[in-house]
């Protein structure tokens, strides 16, 4: 069965979605990802959707779920590479990507992740260590 590969990049994980995701694939991805985050103690997840020409509400919900689950596991998520046509469609059809941070590409995404993780840790631990 096809699986979406999860790569490790330092303390972050990189997921590149290239195929039309369906139910089972989405479930598998969520499973695999949450497991990997736990195993590796990753602080951030980068999801690359630059190959996706269509993002419907199902994909949108999946991305949102991944972001929420990761957050519970203390990892931040950033989605990168959304195509202009997709962005326009999401806006015109009134769909939103609630609670998902986005960046233009993998580089920008990495930077954003680093910042976000830093801010997060400062907020969380900053008060303990003076």
């Amino acid at each position: 069965m096809e699986k979406i590969p999860i790569l490790r990049m330092g303390e972050f994980l990189l997921v590149t979605i290239q195929v039309d995701m369906h139910d089972r694939l989405a479930m598998t991805l969520q499973d695999d990802l949450t497991n990997r985050i736990s195993q590796t103690g990753a602080k951030g997840v980068l999801i690359d959707i630059s190959s996706l020409e269509i993002v419907d509400s199902f994909i949108g919900r999946t991305l949102g779920n991944i972001a929420s689950m990761s957050r519970v596991l203390d990892a931040q998520t950033v989605v990168v590479g959304m195509q202009p046509a997709v962005a326009i469609t999401l806006v015109e059809l009134g769909m939103s990507l609630q609670g998902v941070r986005t960046a233009l590409n993998v580089d920008a995404g990495m930077e954003l992740l680093r910042q976000t993780v830093n801010d997060h840790e400062e907020r969380e631990y900053g008060s303990y260590f003076q």
Binding site: H22, I54, D56, A85
Partner: protein
């Protein structure tokens, strides 16, 4: 108006949603839709197909391609 072609696709599984998308994309491209408009139409079709699957326990997708005959002055 004349029907150029008509396709009926079953919508009973996830894989069928992918087929619907492909079919609608092809038709939209054939009709000369811009990339953005193609994306909108395919996304909307995807939503419909998925709803059919989830709420309607599956069904059939019918996509007739229509053509409008231009009069002498269009």
């Amino acid at each position: 108006m004349a029907v150029i072609s008509s396709e009926t696709l079953p919508v009973v599984s996830e894989a069928d949603i992918v087929s619907v998308r492909r079919c609608v994309r092809e038709s939209a491209a054939k009709l000369g839709f811009s990339l953005v408009d193609q994306t909108k139409v395919v996304t909307a079709a995807s939503e419909l197909a998925r709803n059919t699957l989830i709420h309607g326990r599956g069904g059939k997708w019918n996509l007739p391609l229509l053509t409008v005959r231009e009069s002498a002055f269009g």
